[in-house]
């Protein structure tokens, strides 16, 4: 579904990703690991089309997935309009998604309840806590019913309880969609209850290890 051959990214002559050779199939679940600055986030942003390769080759099979069906949820939970309410923000991003791809309004409402956000939806975004903002960010990422889900350290600003609740929800969500492909950057694989997964371990822009577990 996604093929990278000798994929390299240079930012101002600095090598950020080097000669990546990866094949990602439909339904794969990858944990992307590596130290800070190893290129994990850049890799996810590349797959989302937010960066372009300096050299090499990236092919995404458009018959299986198009760019609108890729969701990237980042660790930066502040990427909303601060003076709009949570609901107005979600409605704005919802309206930007093609009607044939996005969730139904009732499904969005269900997610709002599952995430425990129903009580803060009328609050201005700037009044939300980091954890609530992060949940809103995850909710936004799911609005487009993604077939490729890119998660970038999304639990970094959540407390333990929210992490457990949302973790359980997300794994249920992923398991309920056998065709969904997931790449999840994290520093700690052990905290996730996943049985079958693959690991891409980055170091200084290279893939140190590519293994099946």
């Amino acid at each position: 579904m996604i093929t990278l051959e000798d994929a390299t990214i240079l930012f101002k002559k600095k090598r950020v990703l080097s000669n990546l050779n990866i094949k990602i199939d439909k339904g794969d679940f990858f944990f992307v690991t590596g130290h800070n600055g190893s290129g994990k986030t850049t890799f996810l942003m590349l797959l989302k089309g937010l960066y372009l390769l300096s050299s090499g080759y990236l092919k995404i099979d458009k018959s299986i997935i198009n760019n609108e069906e890729i969701s990237l949820i980042t660790k930066n939970p502040k990427s909303f309009f601060s003076r709009l309410t949570a609901k107005e923000n979600i409605n704005f991003f919802y309206d930007l998604i093609s009607p044939k791809l996005r969730l139904k309004k009732s499904e969005v409402q269900h997610l709002i309840e599952v995430f425990g956000l129903d009580e803060v939806m009328d609050q201005e975004f700037m009044t939300l806590s980091s954890g609530q903002s992060q949940k809103l960010s995850i909710l936004r990422g799911l609005l487009r019913n993604p077939r490729l889900l890119l998660l970038d350290e999304i639990f970094s600003s959540l407390d333990k309880s929210s992490k457990n609740d949302l973790g359980l929800f997300l794994f249920d969500y992923i398991h309920s969609k056998p065709d969904i492909t997931v790449l999840w950057t994290t520093h700690n694989i052990d905290e996730f209850p996943v049985k079958k997964y693959k690991v891409l371990d980055f170091t200084n822009g290279f893939i140190k290890e590519d293994k099946n577990c």
């Binding site: 850049t42 989302k48 390769l53 936004r140």
Partner: protein, 268 residues
């Protein structure tokens, strides 16, 4: 403590100021530009060579229409660039670039500020008519022709706005496209004084600026003085709008791709 703060902030601002050399040059260049505009304005006021000219017969309408077009130029040229700067600062630009068609998003983001421009300027005209005896006599039978020119002129400005936005994407600050366009409009298009007060060697430049011709059409429309062959005489103005938009579209995508390769798209 005050001295420490002052020193730290002054040092930081100086470092940033030095990093944006183009903005520094433009700031000092604009002094000459605006002094030149004031000089020409005073020359036009003192000149006796304006008989039959709108500047002489209805100076209020002349200046009001000039101001409206400068306002329109500044409004449209700034919308997309300031939108992008805001989205980058608020870390929302990734989300917008991710949508199916960021170009349409940028064009659509002009709709609300353009509506505000229209309401604001309609209010200017109404206040001028009812309180300050503005004398206008629009040529409603030529409204359709005027609207064609207006749409084309807006497309021309949108194209420039996209080029200015490309500059913001690539270089972040110190956008010369906006400053140069506004300066050219102010000085050479006949917005604040008739172009005939300009030195001869600038008249050709004035003739090359689409705003000069649109302003002439706008004033002719408001004073019911449309010339018969206006369409033929200004056909180039109708072509230049779509052409400018197409150029803006291509440059916008090119700059977005270049910045995606440099990794600078999402920061400000």
């Amino acid at each position: 403590m005050l001295t420490l703060y002052l020193k730290a902030i002054y040092k930081k601002d100086l470092i940033l100021f030095k990093k944006y050399k183009l903005q520094m040059i433009i700031t000092y260049l604009s002094i000459f530009i605006y002094i030149f505009a004031l000089f020409n304005f005073s020359k036009a006021v003192g000149s006796e060579d304006n008989s039959g000219n709108l500047f002489n017969s209805n100076p209020f309408l002349f200046l009001l229409t000039g101001y409206m077009i400068i306002d329109l130029t500044i409004t449209i040229l700034n919308i997309i660039s300031s939108q992008i700067s805001f989205l980058q600062t608020a870390s929302i630009f990734e989300e917008i670039v991710s949508i199916d068609n960021p170009f349409f998003y940028m064009i659509c983001s002009c709709a609300f500020p353009a509506t505000l421009w229209f309401l604001r300027n309609a209010f200017y005209v109404l206040v001028s008519i009812y309180f300050f005896e503005l004398d206008i006599n629009p040529s409603f039978s030529n409204l359709l022709i005027f609207l064609c020119f207006f749409v084309s002129f807006v497309l021309f400005l949108l194209g420039l706005a996209l080029i200015a936005a490309s500059f913001t994407i690539l270089f972040k600050r110190g956008n010369p496209i906006i400053i140069i366009t506004v300066a050219l409009t102010t000085i050479f298009s006949g917005a604040l004084y008739p172009v005939n007060v300009l030195p001869d060697y600038f008249l050709l430049l004035s003739d090359l600026i689409p705003t000069t011709h649109f302003l002439e059409i706008f004033r002719q429309f408001l004073t019911n003085n449309f010339i018969d062959d206006i369409l033929i005489k200004n056909i180039i103005l109708l072509i230049i709008g779509p052409f400018s938009l197409l150029s803006g579209y291509l440059i916008f995508y090119k700059s977005l791709n270049v910045s995606k390769q440099n990794g600078t798209t999402y920061t400000y």
